[in-house]
Symmetry: T
Subunit: 69 residues, 12 copies
């Protein structure tokens, strides 16, 4: 059967700067072992606070990629 099938994995990326950079950091690491990633969806945005400052953005995202048959 030639229908496409996709897998979803869940990663949490981190950044000291922004939501966008945290998302990209997760995808950059995943790209070392996963091919064909084509979409993501943010599931949760959390962060760490020290001395009244946001010191880390932690963005959990689902990433979808096509499974090679």
């Amino acid at each position: 059967m030639e229908a496409h099938v996709f897998k979803t994995i869940e990663l949490t990326g981190t950044s000291t700067k922004s939501v966008e950079e945290a998302v990209q950091s997760a995808i950059t690491v995943a790209a070392k072992t996963v091919r064909n990633m084509s979409w993501f969806q943010i599931a949760e945005t959390r962060g760490a606070i020290h001395d009244g400052k946001v010191t880390e953005w932690q963005v959990t995202l689902k990433i979808g990629f096509k499974i090679e048959p």
Copy 2:
């Protein structure tokens, strides 16, 4: 009856750069035909990935505006 009534519509804006720009892009397009928009709420943040890079931010938002009687 003089009570205010608002309508909500759901749009998805896109940007190659950020969540904020994607939201503004949806509102900019809506503003061509909808008047009195006063608030929005982000419903979902997704995106496209190509070659291990986020190439598009896709932010779905609800936009509320007062209906003119």
Copy 3:
């Protein structure tokens, strides 16, 4: 009993510029009266629109801090 206990409070920070700045603004105000804040989670992202422009980002977040025994 020496187990740690944390309290969560819910704040809405605002910014004319970005989600990140709205989060920081809420934490900055909380830091005046709350010690030991260690994490946050975004619960909702809304905003105000005037004349087709986003004029305010309103980010509601839960903030956790350790209760001093």
Copy 4:
């Protein structure tokens, strides 16, 4: 194909008095331009407070109506 098709829109009605009146106010305004409305579902009930009094009930509802073929 003669199957029925319905559309749902989302409105927020307001009232100084009650949830019921806020719902009716939204439907009254919608009735000026929408025909065949047949059901609604409350999605959210919010309100405004001034000087310790509820001054406005804001009820967001989904309204369904048959599309005329």
Copy 5:
């Protein structure tokens, strides 16, 4: 074992007038066959519209009652 056990049932009450009356109508009917009802929780509020008027409030509620051992 003498611990209390409760059962929850789900009913939808209707009224032409209000949410409160729809809730009471469901409980009134349930009281004919169920004893010991002690609490309810509203799960959903819907309604019927005819000619731009709310003609029926339909409130779905969960009702809890102690099971007699």
Copy 6:
């Protein structure tokens, strides 16, 4: 700004036969007035029962389409 913007509408399609046919019936009706529809998502599947038989499938779906600038 050349970014794409999409709008989502919510429809309920019906069929006496299947979920798939109910979805298609909603899209068929929408296609008379909406261009560029590109995706849908099922939000709710309900149905009518008469004499112990499913007599109608009612599938509520969100449909997304690109807004022409």
Copy 7:
């Protein structure tokens, strides 16, 4: 009071073939003891897998019926 009252029960129907047949199987069994069933809503769709094949569709649905006064 002559207002209508409905009760909702939750059943899981099964089928080796399809979602639709699993729904009907639950309603067929319920019809032996419940009268006046008028609507259903799918709450969950699960299934069993053996040797890489779906061998059973398990559809959990809520069924509503009018209570006879």
Copy 8:
């Protein structure tokens, strides 16, 4: 930083009569110690039943107020 910051608290108000009165009762009590309350959102509506009658409406609401800097 002069951005506005709001705090949300969660209260449950009660009334023997209506949802609206239960909401107001919670706000009336909060007003003794909290200033600047500006909005609320209903989170849950429950109640007590005795002898087949609703004897108490219990409405849980989130209340937002501006924090004075």
Copy 9:
């Protein structure tokens, strides 16, 4: 039709000691009148507090059992 059909009921069991015992207490009571119970799912865990001690665990669970044809 020989397909299996299951019914789900919702009970709240209580215990002064633990979540596990509260679940078992609900099932023990249900077993007096329901046959063929085969699974449960915890829906909600609440409890009562007196003088700073948990005095009762209240666990609401859904219980599934096969309907005998």
Copy 10:
């Protein structure tokens, strides 16, 4: 410890024809590398539209399988 442990993965299967075939297509592909799959649950049903026709069903499902110790 001899207790069973299961893992859940999330896949999206596609089909031009039906929800059922999309589910089976995901499981067929997974079966090439995963043994002992025993259940699935549908998480989301989406699809693609071209020229007013559903051209692809996209069903996201969670699949559970026993981990071999």
Copy 11:
């Protein structure tokens, strides 16, 4: 107005041993400053892992108490 009003706060208790002990630890700490606590509801159960062992149970709960007028 003599109606009762309750406030809800959200705490996270921890324990090296069990869910039940983590709940009690949160309530024990709260009891130092809050009077009249009467119920709780578990919102989330998380934990820490070190070297393949659960080293801390972290249970977030909402606690309700009557506000003294």
Copy 12:
């Protein structure tokens, strides 16, 4: 980029005795192949019933671990 990235997997552990033991059983099995596990979150608690007794606790949890760069 030196930012930390975490992966989440979903497992179901089982036990004849308690929620806590079921969680530990899932982590024990995962520890054979996954390093650096640092947190978990319970997603669902289900169980099996035979002859009116809970014979198995089935706890589904998400487990997070740092990806080694």
